[in-house]
Amino acid sequence: MYRHRPGSTIRTQLRPRTLVKRALPWVVPILLLVGWQWASSAGILPSRFLPAPRAVLRSFFELSASGELWLHVRVSTMRALAGFAVGGGLGLLLGLFTGSLHWAETLLDTTIQMVRNIPPLALIPLVILWFGIDESAKLFLVALGVFFPVYVNTFHGIRSVDRGLLEMGRTYGLSGWPLYREIILPGALPSILVGVRFSLGLMWVILIVAETISARSGIGYMTMNAREFMQTDVMVVGILLYAILGKLADLLAKGLERYWLRWNPAYQAAR
């Protein structure tokens, strides 16, 4: 090996190592899948309890071919995004407001912190009473759930902007909106994005519960409906869909972080 030129030595050593590194995260899921299929085929796992992966795959293709699957996915995604837009938007605005103005904090923060400690799902009975089992009920629950992580992190982000940079900005004659645009908002952005990422996860959790309790469409409805007919394969398809959608939302948040925080070396290396 030492007879090789240094460059080629490094390349031959590096390639298998990166390959192993790429493959490593998938070893456990694939082993689990293989074990699951084996247990089903051997009859250890009755399909009434958990269907075989092949049955789940078949049911996935059947549902997507009939278009039923995409209808439910579309409905659930629209609900999630609408709730996120309303709740996240309000959280961002209020967080900026209370973070920037001391009197606004004194006026509103205590109330918000009190309401924050109520789990949104505890409101389901009241929400059904107020909105029925309409779209607005799900929208309300999701919006309420995502509001708080965005609010708290925005508030914290504004408050933890580097004092030194603010001071520097003032000596350069910045105040009002220019100071906000150049220093306060970008300084708070890492923290705001943490809130966004957290609330994207919460968004699906709340939607799942809301949809399984009361809905006429959506992934949660599909799963609950399958339970009535003991279609375990459809139920597993629904559960896996949530996992995939959750992962997609997380990837989106990571993408935003990598683009908006590209100035920060800590996010350039992050995968």
């Binding site: 030194g164 520097m168 000596t171 350069y172 150049e182 970008p186 300084g187 100035w263 070396p265």
Partner: protein
């Protein structure tokens, strides 16, 4: 890059017109206290337009507070700080600060950092100043990719692009390595000579003060303890006898108290040695 203008305090009267960028600074009986602890007490200094003044002293003597109060980041409890008029203009004098840390905006690339608070029309000027500090080719990089010395040069460019009448330097070279520091001192010297602004440099490095300034002021106990003109012709060489003598004298004055303590310590330790 450098114009043959020097603004030493002796020549200042004769050269006043040529040194028109600078403004005078008058600090009269200024007192500043933080939480009951007096930092500056009845503090007076007069700085002529275009003069380069270095302020030295031990940590916590109030030298940074003095600088911060000139730019309005601290408000004195009493006394006045007045800036002179800018020759040939009625506007307010332009004061810029260079801090110990560069305080570049990490989310802006180098050129936008230099452009902070400026109209987009001034981009060519910002590029020119960036070239002056030797970083023209880094205009599109993020601050995180620059070394500490390079960041301070960007901070200097950001101050210079405003063509300030008064430049306040708050230990700007304190965190740099020795070689970079000497390079930066030369750069500051050059831009000061070519532009003729008034400069106030806070430093704990007496050699730096003697090398750069027309006048060295020592603050001790919230007052001026020493106000020394540096009568060494420029360019100054650090090795020269006059340089060394002056540095030694100021340093000796700064360390006076320390020397007393050490003397006492030596007698104590000498005694214990004898006992063991």
């Amino acid at each position: 890059m450098t114009l043959p203008i020097t603004c030493n305090s002796k020549e200042i009267v004769a050269e006043k017109k040529r040194c028109s960028r600078g403004v005078s600074v008058g600090i009269k009986s200024v007192s500043i206290a933080f939480g009951g602890r007096t930092v500056l007490e009845n503090f007076d200094i007069e700085i002529a337009a275009g003069e380069f003044v270095a302020i030295v002293g031990r940590s916590g003597c109030g030298k940074s507070t003095l600088l911060r109060s000139v730019v309005g980041l601290e408000t004195p409890q009493s006394g006045t700080i007045a800036l002179g008029e800018v020759a040939g203009s009625k506007g307010k004098p332009d004061v810029r600060v260079m801090f110990q840390d560069s305080r570049l905006l990490p989310w802006r690339r180098i050129l936008p950092n230099v452009m902070l608070g400026l109209e987009p029309a001034l981009i060519p000027q910002a590029r020119k100043v960036l070239a002056q500090v030797g970083l023209a080719e880094r205009a599109n990089d993020w601050p995180a990719t620059l070394s500490g010395g390079q960041r301070q040069r960007v901070a200097l460019a950001r101050a210079l692009v405003h063509d300030p009448n008064l430049l306040l330097l708050d230990e700007p070279l304190g965190s740099l390595d020795a070689l970079t520091r000497i390079e930066m001192q030369q750069l500051i010297k050059d831009v000061w000579r070519s532009r003729g602004f008034t400069a106030m440099l806070v430093t704990h490095d007496v050699a730096e003060a003697v090398s750069l300034a027309d006048r060295v002021i020592l603050i001790e106990g919230g007052r001026v303890a020493l106000d020394e003109l540096v009568n060494i012709p420029r360019p100054r060489t650090r090795g020269s006898a006059r340089f060394a003598a002056l540095e030694e004298r100021i340093l000796g004055r700064v360390l006076q108290r320390r020397a007393l303590v050490e003397e006492q310590w030596q007698t104590i330790s000498g005694r214990t040695e004898g006992r063991w």
